[in-house]
Structures are given as C-alpha cells and as structure tokens.
Symmetry: C2
Subunit: 154 residues, 2 copies
C-alpha cells in the first residue's frame, strides 16, 4: 500500500492533528479569557465548534501515534470515509465560526462602537481567537485533502 504523506497513520498526519489540537485549544483559550463571550452568538458558535474539533483531532492524533510507534491496522474504506466526512464537516463549520467571529470582532473593535460594546479592554483577544480558528480550519482542510487522496488507493 502506498503511503501518502499526511494521510491517517503517518507522522505528517500526526503533526497536522497536533497543530489542529493546539490551534483550536488556543482559539478556545483566547475566547474564554474574555469573560463576556456568551453574550454574542458568533462567539458561542466558535466555542461549540472548537469544543468539537479538540476531541476529534486529539483522538485521531492518538491513532496516528499508535500507528507510527506500535503497528498500523489495515485502513478500511468505511472508516476512512467516516474520517474524511468528519474532517470535511468540521472544516466547514470551523471556517464559518472563524469568519463570523472575525466579523463580530472587527465590529467590536471599530473605534465608534468600541466604547459602547467593549468597555473592559477584553476585545483584543477576539481577533486572536479568530486567527487561531482560521489556522485550525486550514490544517483540518489539509488533513481532509490528504485522506481523500489516499481513498482511491484503498
């Protein structure tokens, strides 16, 4: 079986999954540092999606570690399809969450409205959180593409 770098069970895939976990945890961290995130729907959406991405990426990174260091079970097309669909859906959701967070953060940081909506100087963390979510989306999308590339070879 050909090894596609970045597909399930390779060290490149482990690096991608680790990056996803780190960036989505950072995004969640920056968002939850700002105490009043739950008053904005977009921010709650981001927290929900990052709360889905973190366990997903962490589980798959453990699978990669097991595969690299112990032994790799045969990849079945059914399981690969589930992983691809999961990556696909989560990458769309994290792009949507990152975009809406970026939109709202930009609005909150506009000089005219900042004094009204952001009195506590917490708002500089929102764009950081959105940026981390964008990076997480990018890595999820890369994982998805590498796994799709592998699928016809199974």
């Amino acid at each position: 079986m050909d090894e596609v770098p970045g597909s399930l069970g390779t060290s490149a895939s482990f690096a991608l999954r680790l990056g996803q976990t780190l960036f989505s945890t950072a995004s969640l961290f920056f968002m939850c540092l700002a105490i009043d995130f739950y008053s904005y729907t977009a921010f709650c959406f981001l927290v929900t999606i990052m709360g889905l991405v973190i366990p997903w990426s962490m589980t798959l990174s453990l699978v990669d570690v097991y595969c690299v260091f112990v032994r790799c079970p045969s990849r079945q097309p059914g399981i690969m399809t589930i992983i691809i669909v999961g990556d696909w859906v989560l990458s769309f959701l994290s792009l949507a969450a990152a975009s809406s967070t970026a939109g709202v953060a930009q609005l909150l940081l506009t000089p005219g409205s900042a004094a009204l909506l952001c009195p506590l100087k917490h708002c500089n963390r929102y764009p950081l959180s959105a940026a981390m979510a964008f990076l997480s989306w990018f890595l999820l999308f890369a994982s998805c593409l590498f796994n799709i590339w592998l699928l016809p070879k199974l």
Copy 2:
C-alpha cells in the same frame, strides 16, 4: 463520454448556475438596499464576493446554454480544473462572507445594541442577505462536487 448530471454542459448544471446567479444577486440586492453597509467590513466583504460570484456563474451558465442548445465542445481536463478550482475558492469565500455577515447581522439585531447601531430599521435586510449568500454557497459547492466527479472520467 459519460454525462454526470450537474457537470459542465448539462441542463442540471445550467439550473445550478442560474440558482447561484439568482441567489447571489438577491444577496447583493438586499445588502445594497441598506444604505450604510459600507461602514461594516463584513458587509463590504460580502458585496465583494457576491460581485465575483455573479459574473462567474453567469458566464458558466451561458456556456451551459450554448452546450445544451447548440453543440458541446470537448471538455479538456485543464479547463475543467480551472473551473473546479474557481468554484472551490468562490465557495469557500462565499461561506466565509455569509458567516461573517450572519454574525454581524445577529449582533446588530440584538435588542440591547439595536437602538444604538441600527436606528434606521434597515437591519432586517442583513439576515436575508446572509441567507441568500448561504444558498449561493450551497449551490456553488454542489457544482464543484459534480465537476470533480466528472474529472477522473476525462
């Protein structure tokens, strides 16, 4: 050559392109009806992306009409790849634009801030515009998938 319904040059593809053109025009229309859209970055982004989607979908719908009623030139893998990449990029951009518009529109329609940010009762049009942009994204993504399906058969 197999005909994949929805791929370039079929009547289903024409229907998809027509839907994209209609929904993105509607999204642009609802956004531009509200006079002060240019004070929000997310709304300017939506207007830019919809301004790209409309000519793209309209051109490809004309190609489909020519293909259905006159004669279909042979599909070259290079041209199909350009169309797929274009659909792909535009579908990501329109998802991002629709999400950020939805996030900002929701913030503007929140009862607490509505009186400050939306004094002119224009704001009900923003969610409509975001909904149209989501529909346009969905159809663009469908076109992209159908064309990818066709690519290995060329």
